[in-house]
């Protein structure tokens, strides 16, 4: 009973958040000075073209009508067409998102493994030189502006380690014959490493600090004292009593940081000229293609809400005491 209650509550909350996000998406883009078409920048954007676009987009109807139409279309997965190029937004979003997914997964996995490891060690050895070094390093990476770290890596690291720092594949790729699948993957991965590293480093700082303070809280619990009194080994205490309990808040916090991951990916892709969703967003900002921006915002928001929902359920699985 309690379990289904909890799941129902979280589901309702997730749905409510989706509704707010969807509505926000509508309201924000209608709150433009003028309307979405006014600021459009392209070669052939004449006044007639804009009028026609306005009509096509239904911007000459009342706001309520527009809202209803918007919801109706959205329920069919229709997110409109881009202003530039006039292609369905959904299709335009999918290609870059696929490219981004690989990159942010690599970066996030790296940061979670590395961050959890250093966080646990740091909390265990609190107050020692190891802890201080770890905390200061983490704080430094946490404080660094993502885009700047990217620039620094491009400037100081890329050439030294011989990794590419622009685009998603080598420029001469495919010109000199057709490379095999293996070479293709190697090439793609090589282009992925530096952007992923940038993202990973920024996140690592964040995660270490989160894990560390969660561990510190747990290690202060009485059951840790009991475990020591029983004569359990330090590793067993850290792993069984500390780490597992500390992971509870960490799961939620990592899920909440997904928005930051996506946000960081946007500037990173811009710096590394990596043709993912971030670069597409920057391009859309530049051209004031609000239809694309709107679609991108919606997809990113919904995926974050989904991940948070999953984290909520996971939390329940990890900690049966949860009641709210």
């Amino acid at each position: 009973m309690q379990r289904s209650d909890y799941i129902l509550k979280r589901t309702l909350f997730a749905l409510m958040t989706v509704f707010v996000a969807v509505t926000l998406n509508f309201v924000l883009f209608r709150a433009l000075p003028g309307d979405a078409v006014t600021g459009l920048k392209c070669h052939n954007c004449t006044i007639q073209f804009k009028e026609a676009l306005r009509h096509d987009l239904g911007l000459d109807k009342s706001k309520w009508q527009q809202y209803v139409i918007y919801l109706k279309k959205l329920s069919h997965g229709d997110m409109g067409t881009t202003f530039i190029g006039n292609k369905p937004v959904r299709g335009e979003l999918w290609e870059p998102i696929k490219k981004t997914l690989g990159m942010i997964t690599l970066g996030t996995v790296f940061s979670i493994i590395f961050g959890v490891f250093t966080g646990v060690i740091s909390a265990w050895r609190r107050g020692t030189v190891v802890d201080k070094t770890s905390v200061w390093t983490a704080l430094a990476f946490y404080s660094v502006p993502t885009q700047w770290l990217g620039l620094m890596i491009v400037y100081f690291v890329a050439d030294r380690v011989g990794l590419p720092h622009g685009g998603i594949q080598s420029p001469d790729y495919g010109i000199l014959g057709n490379p095999g699948t293996f070479d293709f993957l190697v090439d793609r991965t090589a282009h992925m490493i530096l952007p992923a590293l940038t993202l990973g480093l920024v996140l690592y700082g964040d995660y270490t600090l989160i894990v560390r303070s969660a561990m510190l809280e747990t290690l202060g619990e009485d059951y840790v004292l009991t475990a020591r009194a029983k004569g359990m080994s330090n590793w067993a205490i850290v792993w069984k009593h500390g780490f597992r309990n500390a992971m509870l808040p960490v799961v939620t916090l990592i899920a909440l940081s997904l928005g930051f991951i996506i946000g960081g990916a946007i500037t990173i892709e811009y710096v590394f000229d990596y043709p993912g969703i971030g670069l597409a967003i920057v391009d859309a900002i530049d051209k004031r293609d609000y239809a694309f921006l709107q679609g991108a915002f919606l997809v990113l928001t919904l995926s974050v809400i989904l991940f948070n929902f999953i984290a909520d359920l996971l939390y329940f699985k990890l900690d049966p005491r949860v009641t709210t």
Binding site: F13, M16, T17, V20, A21, L24, L28, F29, A31, L32, W124, R126, G127, T128, D131, V135, L139, A140, Y142, S143, V144, P145, T146, Q147, W148, L151, M152, Y155, F156, S213, L216, E217, L219, G220, D222, V224, R228, N234, I237, V238, L256, G259, F260, I262, G263, G264, I266, T267, Y270, I281, V282, I285, Y290, L293, Q294, A296, L300, T301, V304, I305
Partner: protein, 321 residues
Amino acid sequence: MTTSTTVARGEAGFEGSPEFTSGRRGFIVTTLRDQPQAIIGLMVVVMFILIAIFAPLIATYSIHAKTGPIYQAPSSTHWLGTDDGGVDMFSLLVYGSRVSLEVGFAAALVAMLIGGTVGVVSGFFGGWVDVLLMRITDIFLVIPDLPLIIVVAAIFGRHLINIIIIIGIIYWTSTARLVRAQVKSVRERVYVKRARSIGAGNRRLVVKHVLPQVAPLLIANTVLTIALAVFLETYITFLGLGDPSTVSWGKLIENSFLGNAVLNNAWWAIVPPGVAVTVVILACTMVGQSMEDALNPRLKVGHLAVRRFRLRPLHGQLDNE
């Protein structure tokens, strides 16, 4: 409340006698005194504020005129070289502190006012107001802030004031949650109940009894928000959504990127603005974090020995709380 260095970054082996402080002003003073990193952080922040205030006196050149060749390396005339327009980097950096800190402080203030109000109202009055406000807060906590800020800035941005307000109205949620939790616990304390029983009104209770107790936490949180706002300014500006008429550190990072400083081997155009941002964020985080740490007594106790075979409480004392 006993005040001692937190476990986290305290001096190992230092055994301080517990001191009792009276009132919240005492708390802030003792936090600063006992935590060297808080003092260092504060000094750095103050230094940057002074640089911002006295920018015209410190800057060596005009930031609106070409005063040297393009991308000239640092020299005795141009301490940090020149940028892609031949403008003195050092002067740009000095003037940039003005806008960056202005955004940081103003946006944090907006966030503090909104978050503090929502938190106090929610925690103090409880009931359906609390439920409603916290639902809204939760929803905004989940909606990813960076994409949201891009969208909002793309629509309303491009003026400094707008950017400040945007950051402020998006980043009040964590403050609200924190303040609410604190207010809820303060509200139940005996002295508040006693004050109510002798006829104190809501306004008096909030102003005289609740707010003073919440203030340290609110200040700590605001300091952390300053760091966040400085970061966000660089973020928004980097995406081309900044105020085009101002020079900020974010703008300088953007310029180094758009001006192909990397291809021109001009590290002096890339490194300084990022270092400035990092140092300010680090300093604010140090101040805010050590205040929050000092407010969270649970972090002071650790039952697992730091070194093997030795169980020792961290400061030779266990906290009573």
